[in-house]
Symmetry: C2
Subunit: 198 residues, 2 copies
């Protein structure tokens, strides 16, 4: 959409990016994902709307950046489904551990601090978790009750992140990815595709 509206204004680099993230954080928190528009966010940041595509690949990527999640949600979904739906549980655990370990868990811990302290951050995370990661994964897999399945999946993944990077509880804190994928993968698999008896 903004793709067709480039007016040739040059990105001013890191400043533009920072201004967009700040404006986006405010706009998404105040209006939610749907109502906040790229045009409005760019206006607040004082830059051309085309910069959103340039720096973030679109509105969704800007949202992920505002949430300080250094990963494209589409890549996580793709990673989880790479081995087929019957291996989605284990693959999702592996994909997240890979992303989190890459930052030493710092991004996850920062997110928890932010969410624990601010209702707005919690609201943004709800939206992110539901729409772009776990809820969407559950929908793509096509099981019944995708909202509940997505939320259950989110609860185990967030708990894994808490134990590994925030509480740093052993043996989870230093377990290798194989161990955790085999131990926790079946939980996620059941939440996504199994009989959850409700």
């Amino acid at each position: 959409m903004t793709e067709t509206r480039r007016r040739g204004r040059r990105p001013s680099g890191a400043d533009t990016k920072t201004a967009l993230i700040e404006a986006a954080t405010e706009a998404f928190a105040a209006q939610g994902y749907d109502k906040a528009t790229v045009r409005d966010i760019a206006g607040r940041a004082g830059v051309d709307p085309a910069m959103v595509n340039h720096w973030f690949g679109g509105k969704e990527g800007l949202f992920a950046a505002a949430m300080q999640i250094p990963v494209n949600p589409a890549e996580i979904i793709e990673g989880a489904l790479r081995g087929g739906r019957e291996h989605a549980g284990e693959q999702l655990v592996r994909t997240f551990l890979h992303v989190w370990d890459t930052t030493g868990g710092g991004v996850f811990a920062g997110l928890v601090r932010s969410v624990a302290g601010h209702e707005l951050a919690a609201k943004l995370l709800r939206e992110f978790v539901t729409r772009f990661i776990f809820g969407r994964l559950a929908k793509e897999i096509g099981a019944d009750r995708p909202e509940l399945r997505g939320a259950l999946t989110g609860s185990q993944m967030v708990g894994l992140g808490m134990m590994r990077y925030v509480v740093k509880l052993e043996p989870i804190a230093s377990a290798d990815h194989d161990t955790l994928a085999r131990a926790i993968g079946p939980t996620i698999q059941r939440y996504l595709t199994g009989d959850i008896d409700i």
Copy 2:
């Protein structure tokens, strides 16, 4: 132990309790659970060691109070095992939801804020989770690898608390206890007694 050492000094009420909790928080954080002694904590608080039994039922209860966990760990274990080991998963979910809902989730959310912000709080929580709740439950149930089983159990329970009380993600935030116990109970049951394939 301190039971036999009462010297008749009167409790001065809420002040004594508060002073003991403050002294205990410092002592447990600095020395860990084992090395911190009731006598030393009472000394820091300027009260008779017998007050620890009087107000907290002993060192373990004082530790739970310092962690701001308004529940006796022994009661949680007992609640989880009430229906036999083959129902421990579902019962543990029910027991925690009951305790958390009683405070509106405020205590859980406060604990997360505290843990996310302070390495010392995280250290105390590690000790609490491992020794008094999930680790002990796994040991009492008698399965192999109790540390890993306890940590996995903790990861799902902490994630449930995060989603219900901090992120407030629906449908978990307002689901009834039966729904959550049936959806999440089997996860905990597998972590405690099942084949975790590692």
